[in-house]
């Protein structure tokens, strides 16, 4: 197990290196740089800016400097944010985005799993239909539409909740819900399908035949096994939610990291782009690792030795 984890961590670093190289190259290849404005800057100004940020050096030197910086814990500075350290910007936004993402994730699990289980246990009943309807509707409404809808109802019409910002619980409710619906719908569908499959397994029938109580079978045999595919999808969902959503953060004015990447791309803010991409890559790779370890905990049949 330990050997497996060490191997995976090694590969995680390889992945991060490859991701940084690809991103760095793409960033410099796309047309338009950080100083391309509608109102063109004076060429002497552009020269001074390029020199200041080292953009006048050859590509490979710039990349080398960047990688060397990472080993010193320095992700560079953001040109579009007062030259602040990208690390500081990410660390400032991360708790907000993570709080929002984890809240949304818990909401998604709390809605999705019971809904999916209920639908499977009462297959083809009214509960099942409602669950499927919910999953379909919320899987197809885009986050920004739902977000604006919520805002119109709860802020503009009822005046119950603030339209956005950060700092109080009330400001988390709408964005967390808007963020949770899509994964909730997804998780409900997966849970339903996997529960239906597990219910027909031999070991469930055996357990029944042995006269074990329905509730015990449900929790120990069905739920536990039905959750394996759910965990598979929940991992990346969590990574996705924790890395933030541009649309939801933009709409609800949340000073998280979800907005940073897209804003960075628009501004060709190289430091910000690299920082957010690396963070995202790390989050996905790390959570996948955790998920793989979780499999072993939940399903005793899975072993990594």
């Amino acid at each position: 197990m330990t050997k497996y984890i060490i191997q995976r961590i090694f590969w995680l670093f390889v992945v991060l290196f490859v991701v940084s190289f690809i991103t760095f190259s793409l960033m410099h290849l796309v047309p338009g740089g950080p100083w391309d404005r509608e109102k063109a800057l004076d060429e002497r100004v552009v020269a001074a800016l390029n020199a200041k940020y080292g953009l006048d050096k050859p590509f490979i030197v710039q990349f080398g400097n960047y990688i060397a910086g990472i080993f010193r814990g320095d992700l560079g500075v953001s040109y579009s944010r007062q030259d602040r350290d990208v690390t500081a910007i990410l660390l400032e936004g991360l708790p907000k985005t993570a709080t929002l993402g984890i809240t949304a994730f818990i909401l998604a699990i709390l809605i999705g799993v019971p809904l999916g289980m209920a639908a499977a246990l009462k297959q083809n009943s009214i509960i099942d239909y409602i669950s499927v309807l919910f999953a379909t509707v919320f899987a197809s409404i885009p986050g920004f539409v739902l977000g604006i809808l919520l805002m119109i109802i709860f802020s503009v019409t009822l005046h119950w909740l603030p339209t956005g910002g950060w700092g109080s619980v009330r400001q988390v409710i709408m964005p967390a819900f808007a963020l949770a619906t899509l994964p909730a719908a997804f998780i409900a569908r997966i849970t339903r399908a996997s529960t239906l499959e597990v219910m027909r397994q031999d070991y469930v029938r055996t357990a029944r035949a042995m006269g074990i109580k329905h509730r015990v079978i449900l929790i120990r045999h069905i739920l536990r096994n039905a959750l394996i595919p759910v965990i598979t999808v929940a991992g990346p969902e969590l990574a996705f939610l924790v890395s933030g959503s541009f649309i939801i953060e933009n709409l609800f004015s949340i000073p998280g990291i979800g907005r940073l990447f897209v804003n960075g791309v628009f501004a060709r803010d190289y430091g910000l782009i690299m920082g957010t991409i690396l963070f995202y890559a790390f989050a996905v790779a790390f959570i996948n690792l955790v998920v793989d370890i979780m499999y072993g905990v939940i399903d005793p049949r899975i072993r990594y030795d």
């Binding site: 796309v30 047309p31 338009g32 740089g33 391309d36 404005r37 509608e38 109102k39 063109a40 800057l41 004076d42 060429e43 002497r44 100004v45 020269a47 001074a48 800016l49 020199a51 200041k52 040109y79 579009s80 944010r81 007062q82 030259d83 602040r84 910007i89 400032e92 936004g93 604006i148 805002m151 119109i152 802020s155 503009v156 005046h159 119950w160 909740l161 603030p162 339209t163 956005g164 910002g165 950060w166 009330r170 409710i173 933009n250 709409l251 609800f252 004015s253 000073p255 907005r259 804003n263 628009f266 501004a267 060709r268």
Partner: protein, 550 residues
């Protein structure tokens, strides 16, 4: 079972409602002196020397003031200076190359220190530092030694220090600042009213480095003090109780950074904001709304929009074709149908509200299909446009730009029978292409840096000028610009600029489209808003100190 479930749901709804309700009864408008407005996002840079965007100016203008500033009509007023330098008061030398500012001795920093001529000297010399790489510095290259220092990117420390010392800015004593120019610059005083030359504090910047723009280090000399900056969320400014002049009526200004226009509008309707934009395309319905209609504030901005032809690319090298296109576009329909009735049709370049605007210019370009066809024939094409090659039009694929481009495509097809191919592009890629003059015909806008034709003509239409993306080149025009730029007699100077503009409008390197108008909602209890054609992100932000809530 069903009953139980229903009861549970009912209980949940009640509990949620109770949790949510008490904290957020709709806030009634009170007389609390707080103004809540929105800026376009996190400012890139609020260091006055380095700033360039309107978002940044909105913050800087509250916390800092320069030697000079603008009145509401954009004429100059003395703030940090005792009076506006003139030749008569010995503020400007007879040759127009030396400016002497006597400082207003009452002006203090918000920490109680006096603002001195040395602060200005430090600030202006810092503006030219190649290590700072400030974006507006090129505007000030007329100051002796400025360009040499700024361009010495790779020089060693000693050379840089020598070049810095050689800059023609000198504090003669605590209250007298002298600035020497390479050549007379009639608009120099306007430049001295802009943010890059506001004073900044050497001791603060030396002590805090990059952190100096964070509160409480952000020490200014203006009517407000920044007390809080929650990055990407909001900035809080409070009244500077020790401000030397008339103190602000507002106790607090909060600048939010909502980046979604629908969210900004919703926040306004939920009484979280006192000033808001409306989504593009909803202007007409907003005006018609019985509640919101009276809250609309609209006024002209010093911004002109148009499509710039690349004169080096056929067929746009044909002057009569450009004139034909100018006459073939129904701009009133454009304003009413594409721009929601907001804005003013443009037939020339310099916008209303500025010296140099001439409503009689561009008479040939008023919508007239017959005239357009005459121009087309004069250009050597058939009057039904059948032999005009397909024209390619580029624009940044954001906001309402696609609709604008489609409008032009449709007008030229209907009115002149000319086909237009639309080429949308990502924003930065589009800017790069236009800046490299690789476009054929592109949507663009120009806003005033300072209210003078000097900022509107040579920089855009002078041969080889930095923002000349039409590749327009006229020896006669260049000669007029050179003459006007050095003319110290203002009447004569404006006459020269008028001739220069007339020349450009006649040559039509641009399809002139629209003068921009600002359209905002303002809560009725916000009083005393003094807006100008050069406001930053929020209307009236040059004079927030005079705003009050009633």
């Amino acid at each position: 079972m069903v009953k139980k479930v229903l009861a549970l749901i009912f209980a949940l709804v009640i509990i949620t409602t109770m949790l949510v309700l008490p904290a957020c009864s709709p806030s009634a408008s009170t007389k609390e002196q707080i103004l809540r407005t929105n800026i376009a996002g996190e400012p890139s840079q609020i260091d006055p020397n380095r700033a360039s965007w309107s978002t940044e100016r909105t913050v800087i203008m509250q916390v800092f003031e320069g030697l000079l500033g603008f009145n509401q009509d954009l004429s100059l007023r003395a703030i940090g200076a005792e009076e506006i330098p003139t030749v008569d008061n010995d503020g400007i030398s007879a040759d127009g190359k030396t400016y002497t500012f006597e400082l207003n001795t009452k002006v203090e920093w918000s920490d109680g220190e006096k603002v001195t001529a040395q602060d200005y000297e430090y600030s202006i010399k810092r503006l030219f530092s190649p290590d700072l790489a400030a974006e507006y510095t090129s505007f000030y290259f007329d100051i002796v030694g400025g360009e040499a220092y700024y361009s010495a990117i790779d020089a060693d420390v000693a050379t840089k220090a020598a070049l810095k010392d050689a800059i023609g800015v000198r504090a003669i004593d605590d209250d007298t600042l002298e600035i020497k120019l390479n050549a007379p610059r009639p608009t120099f005083l306007q430049l001295m009213a802009l943010w890059p030359v506001y004073p900044v504090r050497e001791d603060i910047i030396t002590q805090f480095g990059e952190q100096w723009t964070e509160p409480p280090n952000y020490i200014g000399n203006g009517p407000f003090i920044m007390t809080e900056w929650v990055h990407s969320d909001h900035i809080t400014l409070i009244k500077n109780e020790d401000y030397w002049g008339t103190k602000a009526k507002l106790d607090t200004v909060v600048l939010y950074m909502k980046t979604d226009i629908n969210a900004e509008y919703a926040a306004y309707q939920n009484n979280e904001l006192d000033i808001s934009q409306v989504a593009a395309g909803t202007e007409a319905s907003t005006l018609a709304d019985p509640v919101l209609g009276p809250q609309v504030l609209r006024y002209a901005e010093l911004v002109t929009f148009g499509f710039q032809f690349n004169l080096e690319v056929a067929p746009f090298d044909n002057k009569n074709l450009r004139k034909a296109i100018n006459a073939a576009i129904d701009r009133d329909s454009f304003i009413n149908n594409v721009r929601g009735g907001v804005g003013k049709a443009a037939y020339s370049w310099i916008p209303p509200g500025m010296p140099g605007y001439d409503p009689n210019l561009g008479a040939d370009y008023h919508f007239n299909v017959t005239k357009a066809k005459e121009f087309l024939v004069a250009a050597g094409y058939a009057s039904n446009g059948s032999d005009v090659p397909e024209l390619r039009l580029q624009y940044a694929d954001t906001g309402t730009n696609p609709t604008i481009a489609q409008f032009i495509q449709n007008q030229l097809k209907i009115n002149l029978g000319i086909d237009v191919a639309l080429e949308p592009m990502e924003r930065a890629a589009f800017s790069e292409m236009v800046n490299a003059e690789q476009h054929t015909w592109a949507w663009f806008g120009w806003g005033a840096d300072y209210p003078d034709p000097d900022n509107w003509l040579p920089e855009l239409f002078g041969t080889g000028a930095g923002n000349n993306h039409t590749n327009y080149s006229s020896a006669a025009f260049d000669a007029l610009c050179t003459e006007a730029a050095a003319e110290l007699d203002n009447t004569q100077r404006l006459a020269l600029w008028a001739d220069a503009q007339a020349m450009v409008v006649d040559d039509a390197p641009v399809l002139f489209m629209q003068y921009r108008e600002r359209f905002r909602l303002v809560k009725p209890y916000v009083k005393g808003l003094k807006y100008t054609g050069m406001d930053g992100d929020s209307p009236g932000d040059m004079f927030f100190a005079e705003v009050y809530i009633d």
